[in-house]
Amino acid sequence: MSQKSTIIWLQGLTCNGNSHSFFNYPQMPSFAASFEMLYHPLLCGAEDFLSLLKSDTKFDFLILEGALSHDERLIERFGIAFYEILDVLAARAKHIICAGSCASFGGVFRLRDPQKITGALFCGKEKGGYWLEKANVINISGCPVHPRWLVETLLALHVGEKVLLDDFLRPKEVFSYLVHHGCLRNEYFEWKVDSQQLGEREGCLFYEHGCVGPMSHANCNKILWNGVSSKTRAGSPCLGCTEFDFPRVALYETQKNMSLPQTPFGISKRAYYSLAGVAKSFKIERLEKKLIDENH
């Protein structure tokens, strides 16, 4: 690919988490071979930014990190109201990529004032965020976004591939999987054996510890984080950080109605409760025991 794609990275209300996650992309040199970062707030200064803003050059990717707002009292950059900056840049960008759940859905900032603070095209699950409509937006949710989700989507667009999106405008390549897929605790889930405590090798985290892996869209347990592990593999529940309702309250507790948890994505209550009731009727000794028993 001869021509590099150009990127401007703009931050709304954010903790920098998505930037840091991106900087952990392990093949940065190969990324740099295909992309040129015209501006990133953690790498460049005001001068670069203001000259970019004044020019009328088109560029390929506007990456948004953080929740957005039209209210200038809430966000400004270099003394300029944020909405003015965003409107100018958005008009010149070929693609707008929301990196992380805050830019996609509003995230934790939205909880403060959902009227004023939203994602680019969504406010939680409702359509209509900073913009009511916009055709060139892709949401890559996550708290933070996984560096590979971001870079691989950028690469696909860079080489002219079509990126298929789900109903929340997330790339299907990543978000048609559930976190439950590939979790090492699946057998415990099947037989309804829950972990006694966080961090244990044994047990599933669905019934007592708030795991929402079976209803959260992401391929964390397929590609892993840093190539080595994932929350659920390490013994922490999936907190559902890629979904529109992140963060929920009491993340480490399973929300239940009359002891009955929410059912896995796309599985009816009737199907799930019947099967779970059957599985619970048996006590599987192997699964009750420690995986590695020091005395045997």
Binding site: M258, K269, R270
Partner: protein, 194 residues
């Protein structure tokens, strides 16, 4: 439905009737064969033992009651109305087909040793219990019922109904079961509501 299946169901009906009136131990396979007008040998083509027959019956009864509650679950209406409907369905069954509920109370619950292999936990009554799970979960989700432990609510609901049918069977009640539907439904609602 194929012929063998239909015949099996008739055997289940006949055995259910005998077990629920005379009891499990007092009923023999020859008794059931006789009621069916079949030879004892032929009976064993359908069910290999009396225990197996007993387990199939509890699943069969649970399916029938479960299907009735499922209908209530799938109807429109608020939880208060649905409680009334479930009570009505249960009492109606206890009046018109008392064998199902008697079997549950007098055979299934009273002779756990017969059911311990193959009907562990909820296995043989799951079609019925699942419908109550759905009913309770939805009741809490829509804000009408208080969130609590499933079995606390289940015990209150089914223990009450079972106990009442038992009283009725003992001839203690002055009036017909149906007469009590509204009052009992209201009591259950008041106990479980938010």
């Amino acid at each position: 439905m194929d012929k063998k299946l239909r015949k099996s169901e008739k055997i289940l009906d006949a055995a259910l009737m005998l077990f629920s009136t005379r009891g499990f131990y007092a009923t023999t396979i020859p008794d059931i064969a006789k009621a069916m007008g079949m030879s004892v040998g032929n009976m064993y083509n359908y069910f290999s033992s009396k225990e197996m027959l007993a387990k199939e019956i509890i699943k069969y009864s649970s399916d029938i009651l479960g299907a009735e509650i499922r209908r209530v679950n799938e109807e429109e209406g608020n939880t208060k109305e649905k409680i009334r409907k479930i009570v009505a369905v249960y009492f109606e069954m206890a009046s018109s087909k008392p064998q199902h509920i008697n079997y549950f109370l007098r055979v299934y619950l009273a002779n756990k040793e017969v059911f311990k292999d193959g009907c562990e936990g909820m296995l043989c009554v799951s079609s019925f219990v699942t419908e109550l799970m759905i009913f309770f979960e939805e009741g809490v989700a829509c804000g009408e019922l208080r969130n609590q432990d499933f079995f606390s609510a289940f015990g209150l609901f089914m223990g009450y109904l079972g106990g009442f049918v038992f009283l009725s069977g003992e001839g203690v009640l002055e009036k017909d079961l149906n007469h009590y539907v509204d009052e009992i439904a209201l009591n259950i609602y008041n106990a479980l509501k938010h």
